[in-house]
Symmetry: C2
Subunit: 567 residues, 2 copies
């Protein structure tokens, strides 16, 4: 049934013009397409919504109350089986709902949309659902496509965001809020689901507040998306996509480990996506047991320098050489150098100098650097020096994310090892191989976990809208239990917020969840890493399976954070 | 049963000292460990060996006859169900057999060894099998480990070569042949199985000839290994590891394609391992349908320059921009620049100049290049120029394999696009992302195909030795049929050989099988690539499955070459 059906999302030119032609689906794609998803049992039967107590904020509740006068304090809610005493229930009417994908891709986004779609089809028959194209810009420009069963079908359980595409625009200015208002009015929207990360969910809450302040009927529900794993809290135990991305990276890391052990002559330095937070690196470490995994948050907490990190790696390489191991695998979070204070200072100084001065070949410009920064700059490998000077973003700033930290560390470790060799302290041989695992993981086919989780998130978002809720983030819990036992509800977005002062004004933010050094995942890692460093305890998770052994494994971070496994 | 058993291969220091600790096996690893493998039906029942007609050579039979006086002309053989009329059968005695892994890793190597091991356990009970450690050097230095059921078990269906490790040494000099002879005599070897690529199988044949010339009982059987896919012929339709490596790379390519389509703003340039031949790139293209796949053999046949390749890519990018697509995926074989005559000339000239002259900063040295080479050198991006000048192998030669062709092409395409933009011929936007997929694929868990194929290859090698054969390469055919129907035999290694003149002497070689431009896989690709270039026909194969849909898929190259699917 899945062959030769071409589905295009509107045929428009530009980034949102994509096509899925099912005649060219692989066998695995087709089988996933037709894979039926389980739902939490509370969603399978008539349910009611039970409000909790009034909520507060993650910090500075007075400021949050000022920023969200209509929403602050509203309760979170959970779904319970319908009984006569339940506090509220879904309306019987049909809905007009919009959905938007915001920010970077994460496996499972399509399933959130299918979840909303199926909810409306099954519980609010006759409803309409619009997909805004190319992210929040689609809302502002009123670019959308009406979702139909035929349109949604080819994306079920498939990776990517290409059904309606995504974008990084934000709805920020009064003009932009007005545009969103116009679109909501024009489409007569009862609700909008924003699928995004911390910023996008903050934006969703501002939009909910705005619509409420205008007495509009349009309600807004958020969904927690990001492979980086930095959007989570007690009520929202995970962001979707993290599970799949980590398992894809871990498959590759496991393969590289076996390669390292087989040839016995390479140190593989693997940089992993994940932005500022090191959740992905930590999870991949727990899945694969590398010889070294650098956790950015620990580097920051210990106020380490680049030299400290280099020495830490070099020490382990020397110890391993004594044991006869001249190979290994080292994981490095993408955001590492963001965590090193001296590097931040250097970059700030460079941005300042490069904005005003000429970089002369003779290097006179370097004298404008503070002595410590100058020293650090000279310590960096030449290729990195050049990268810092040459690759700039449109604002002229150094592009930190573009720095190939893994190559930088290889070069610095090499230099340090040569020094030690000259001093007679190291007699091994060292060859570094660099890797960056990133784009391979953002659009993989979602694991069973992410497929189920996203479907439940979407289904729950539909239910929350149907019950008249706004300003909540779809919240599915008890995630280490079988799907039937998962809890479902919505958490007041304002309760997750704090403020940050920017340009003299308070801005609401959902704080990024960083790796906690007293959290169970890090403690587990810390308790084992010395053994991993010296003994080879490599695990090869293998390719993600959809059937059979391992197919329903939950990631270690979640198991540890939910206390299902002890640290 | 698979937990907490540590298996070390001897505990020696150095590259061959590895350990697998099964208490840290993943669920998928454990399930593969206990996965029972099917055997071709001819191997499951009593069999006999049927000799074919006398063989010749792939080229220059007279020279091959001189180089292999004892082996030349010997028949290939195939296994048939035992009957009274069959020509020869396995002896009833026990055997002492050595096995060695030679060259780069390929998924399935451990299964070849398990195959030999199980054959001896089941059909020649009481036999002994030694694993030579660290490749051919292990034979010369008589470094080995005796394989036991407990030793072999943790490696069943697992990736890597770490059971006994591999090495790139060759047995070449009279002294080295003598060392191999001493080892064979010391261990009283009846047979030796050499698992390797074209060079290693040539070496295996030379060793078989040598042992025969010395009237030794030690027989030598080869097995076709390499992910590169360049060791194959009618009798040996595939080298093992190719299937798994291509499927791993294709999973990643498929993910990157979905990412490209979702963001709509990146051109991903993916360089793929595979040495000189472009088989891997071609197979990955058939699995995933990229917008462009450059096939080195075609570039060579058409005598294209780097500028031609750049223009070909740029033309397609411009056409796609007109259609509104500013993204895409481009596959590039690792060996590409080896195929471009002008690059080879440049590298030869550089090697000559760098060996004798100083590279002055002002660039006066460049005047020593021929005008055409100078022009090409100036055409190259600066980073590549530096790489050519700085990164040298121990012999002082430019390291072609280290050149990041994907980055080079991004840079050259970028320059060309800027030119066209200035001329008003291109109005799109271009952002290149580079990838190199290599080490991730060499040691993945073997697919069902490679698991079964390798096990049959090993089992057959045991049978051939048991029947007294030498100088054959284990040959398993009919590979697109169910395993039960696979054919089993041995092909005379001399029949695959030709000679090459090196330093005025004839050297025997098994010619590398390159992509044939009139072969079915390339023709299939060529018939579809124009459509893939402009329309997006991306396929996402997804992760390798061991159960369920897709788990037993055979790769496209094999299906097309065996005529199971039409080009």
């Amino acid at each position: 049934m899945a062959t030769a059906v071409a589905v295009s999302n509107g045929g428009a030119k530009g980034p949102a013009a994509t096509t899925r032609v099912m005649s060219v689906y692989s066998e695995v794609q087709t089988s996933r397409l037709n894979h039926n998803l389980p739902l939490p049992s509370v969603l399978r039967a008539p349910f009611a919504l039970l409000d909790g107590p009034p909520s507060s904020a993650a910090g500075n509740p007075d400021e949050i109350a000022k920023l969200f006068p209509h929403l602050f304090g509203q309760p979170s809610a959970k779904l319970v089986p319908a009984t006569d005493t339940a506090s509220s229930a879904a309306s019987s009417g049909t809905l007009k709902v919009g959905v938007v994908l915001s920010g970077g891709q994460a496996p499972g986004g399509h399933n959130v949309i299918s979840g909303i779609f199926d909810y409306l089809q099954e519980k609010a028959k006759g409803s309409t659902i619009y997909g805004f194209k190319g992210g929040p810009a689609g809302i502002m420009k009123c670019k959308y496509v009406e979702l139909t069963p035929e349109f949604v079908y080819p994306f079920r359980n498939q990776g990517g965001f290409d059904m309606i595409c995504s974008g990084r625009d934000k709805i920020e200015t009064p003009q932009q809020f007005k545009e969103a208002e116009d679109t909501a009015a024009k489409l007569d929207l009862d609700g909008l689901v924003v699928i995004g990360g911390d910023d996008s969910n903050t934006n969703a809450c501002l939009l909910a507040e705005y619509f409420r302040s205008k007495n509009m009927k349009t309600r807004v529900i958020g969904c927690p998306k990001t492979i980086d794993g930095d959007l989570k809290c007690k009520e929202v135990p995970a962001s979707f996509g993290f599970d799949t991305a980590c398992k894809i990276y871990s498959e590759m890391i496991g393969n590289v480990m076996v390669d390292a052990r087989s040839t016995g002559k390479y140190y593989h330095f693997v940089r992993l996506m994940g932005r500022a937070a090191s959740h992905i690196t930590l999870e991949c470490a727990l899945q694969t047991h590398p010889n070294i995994a650098v956790i950015g948050e620990e580097v920051a907490a210990k106020k380490q320098t680049l030299k400290n990190v280099t020495d830490y790696i070099t020490d382990i390489i020397c110890k391993r050489a004594e044991l006869g191991y001249n190979y290994g695998v080292i994981l490095i979070p993408e955001g590492l150098i963001d965590f090193i204070p001296e590097v931040q200072t250097l970059i700030a100084e460079l941005n300042e100098i490069l904005a005003h001065d000429v970089v002369d070949e003779a290097g006179v410009w370097k004298q404008k650097l503070q002595p410590q920064c100058q020293q650090l700059f000279e310590f960096l490998p030449q290729a990195i020096q050049e990268q810092l000077l040459l690759e700039r973003d449109p604002h002229g700033n150094v592009q930190v994310a573009k720095i190939e930290t893994e190559k930088m560390l290889i070069s610095m470790v090499e230099t340090e090892l040569e020094k030690r060799k000259a001093e007679g302290k190291y007699a091994g041989h060292f060859k570094g191989q660099s890797h960056f695992f990133g784009y391979e993981g953002r659009c993989g086919m979602p694991t069973n976990f992410d497929s189920n989780y996203c479907y439940a998130l979407g289904y729950a978002a539909g239910a929350l809208l149907h019950c008249g809720k706004t300003g909540l983030i779809s919240s599915v819990g008890n995630l280490c239990a079988p799907v039937e036992e998962w809890t479902v509800g919505g958490t007041a977005l304002t309760s997750l917020m704090d403020v940050e002062r920017r340009h003299g004004k308070f801005k609401p933010v959902i704080k990024k969840a960083m790796v906690e050094l007293d959290g169970a995942p890090f403690k587990k890692f810390a308790s084992m890493r010395d053994e991993w460093a010296i003994k080879n305890r490599y695990i090869s998770p293998g390719p993600i399976q959809f059937m059979g052994p391992g197919a329903n494994d939950v990631n270690h971070t979640l198991l540890l954070e939910l206390g299902v496994v002890q640290a």
